[in-house]
C-alpha cells in the first residue's frame, strides 16, 4: 500500500453492518505494531472510536468530564495490550469490552470516584455541547444544541438510575452498537438473558423518561 503515513493519514473506514472492511483490518494490524507508524494508526482508531467510548463510559459514570478521563485510560490500556491481540476482526468489541470494564471498575471504585454531582453533570454536558461536540446529527444552532444536550444529560441521569444488570446491555446495544452475541460474550450471559435484560432496561428507562417521550 502506498499510503503516506507521514502526513495526515486518512481516517480508517468504519466497520459496516456486514463486518469490517479489509482496509480497516489493515489499520488495526498496523496499530498493533510497536512503532511510530503503529502509534499513528492507533491514533486514527482513537478518532474513530472516541465518541462511542466516551459515551459508553459516560452512560455508566453519569459525568461527562470524568468520562473523558476514563476514556483516555481505556485507550491507553488498549494501546498497551493491542500488540497481543490476535484477531483484528474483533478489535471493535475488544475495545468496547475494555471500555465497559474500565467504566464498571470506576463505578465500583472508592466513594470519591463514584460520587456524581448532577449539577456538574448538566454543566459539563452543556460545555461539551457548546464546544460543538455533540454527535448524531446535531445542528449548528447553539440553542438546539443546548436543548439536545439537556435531553442527553437527562437520559444519562435516567440510565444511572437503572440497575447495572439492565443498564449495561442497553448501553452496549444502543450506544456501543454491539450485537446481542457480542454483548453476551462481554457480560458472560446467554442470548436470551441479553434480550430480556435489554427489554427490561428499556422499560425501566421508558418509565423514567416519560416526559421526554412524545
Amino acid at each position: 500500500m502506498s499510503r503516506d503515513r507521514e502526513n495526515t493519514p486518512p481516517r480508517p473506514p468504519e466497520p459496516t453492518a456486514s463486518g469490517p472492511t479489509d482496509e480497516y483490518l489493515l489499520w488495526v494490524a498496523e496499530a498493533r505494531t510497536e512503532s511510530a507508524a503503529g502509534d499513528r494508526a492507533f491514533t486514527r482508531l482513537v478518532e474513530l472510536y472516541r465518541s462511542r467510548v466516551v459515551s459508553l463510559v459516560a452512560a455508566h459514570l453519569g459525568d461527562a468530564d470524568q468520562a473523558e478521563d476514563v476514556a483516555q485510560e481505556v485507550f491507553l490500556k488498549a494501546r498497551a495490550a493491542l500488540p497481543s491481540v490476535r484477531e483484528e476482526a474483533r478489535f471493535e468489541s475488544w475495545l468496547l469490552r475494555i471500555a465497559y470494564r474500565t467504566a464498571i471498575d470506576h463505578t465500583r471504585g472508592f466513594w470519591w470516584r463514584r460520587r456524581v454531582s448532577l449539577e456538574r453533570l448538566a454543566e459539563s454536558a452543556r460545555e461539551t455541547a457548546l464546544a460543538g461536540a455533540a454527535v448524531a446529527g446535531a445542528g449548528n444552532d447553539p440553542e438546539s444544541t443546548l436543548l439536545r444536550s439537556e435531553r442527553s444529560s437527562q437520559v444519562r441521569k435516567a440510565l444511572r438510575e437503572v440497575p447495572e444488570a439492565f443498564r449495561a446491555p442497553v448501553v452496549l446495544r444502543d450506544i456501543a452498537g454491539l450485537s446481542y452475541e457480542e454483548i453476551g460474550r462481554i457480560l458472560n450471559c446467554p442470548l436470551g438473558t441479553v434480550e430480556s435484560r435489554i427489554h427490561r432496561g428499556r422499560q425501566a428507562l421508558r418509565r423514567k423518561l416519560e416526559k421526554l417521550l412524545p
Binding site: S51, A71, S152
Partner: protein
C-alpha cells in the same frame, strides 16, 4: 402459530424484534401480530423511541482528545521506561552487592576464621582453668574428709 401469539408473548420479545435479533420465523410471527394489534404496535414504537433517546445521547470528547491521548501515551511510556531503567539499575546493584559479599567471604574467610579462633581460645583456656579450679576445689574437700 402466527396468528395465535398472545400480546403478552409478543411484548416480551419486542426489544429483540426491534434489534433484529430474533430467529426469522419468530420475527415473522411477531410482524403478523403487530399488523393486527395496534396496542402492541404502540409498544414497539415506544421501545423504539427509548432506544432512539439512548443512542441520541451520544457524546463526543472535547476537541484535542487525540493530542491529549498522544501526550499521555508519551508520558506513560517515559514513566515506564524510567521505571524499567530504575529496575535495571537496582538489579545491577544487587548483583554487585552479591558479588562483593561472595568475594568478601572467599577472600576474608580464613582471616575471619582465625580471628574467631583467637577470640574463642582464651575463653576456652578460661574454661579449662575454671574446670581445673573446680577439680582442685573438690579434691580439697575430699582431702579434708
Amino acid at each position: 402459530m402466527n396468528s395465535e401469539m398472545r400480546c403478552q408473548d409478543v411484548r416480551s420479545r419486542l426489544s429483540g424484534y426491534h434489534d433484529s435479533a430474533l430467529p426469522p420465523p419468530l420475527a415473522g410471527s411477531i410482524r403478523l401480530h403487530l399488523d393486527k394489534c395496534p396496542d402492541c404496535a404502540g409498544e414497539l414504537a415506544a421501545i423504539s423511541r427509548v432506544a432512539g433517546l439512548v443512542s441520541g445521547s451520544m457524546l463526543d470528547a472535547r476537541p484535542g482528545f487525540e493530542e491529549r491521548f498522544a501526550r499521555k501515551l508519551t508520558a506513560r511510556r517515559a514513566a515506564g521506561e524510567s521505571w524499567a531503567a530504575r529496575a535495571r539499575l537496582a538489579k545491577r546493584l544487587s548483583a554487585y552487592a552479591a558479588a562483593f559479599l561472595l568475594a568478601a567471604l572467599v577472600g576474608l574467610g580464613p582471616a575471619v576464621v582465625r580471628d574467631v579462633r583467637d577470640y574463642v581460645a582464651p575463653s576456652s583456656d578460661a574454661q579449662i582453668l575454671y574446670l581445673a579450679l573446680i577439680e582442685n576445689g573438690s579434691g580439697d574437700q575430699e582431702d579434708s574428709h
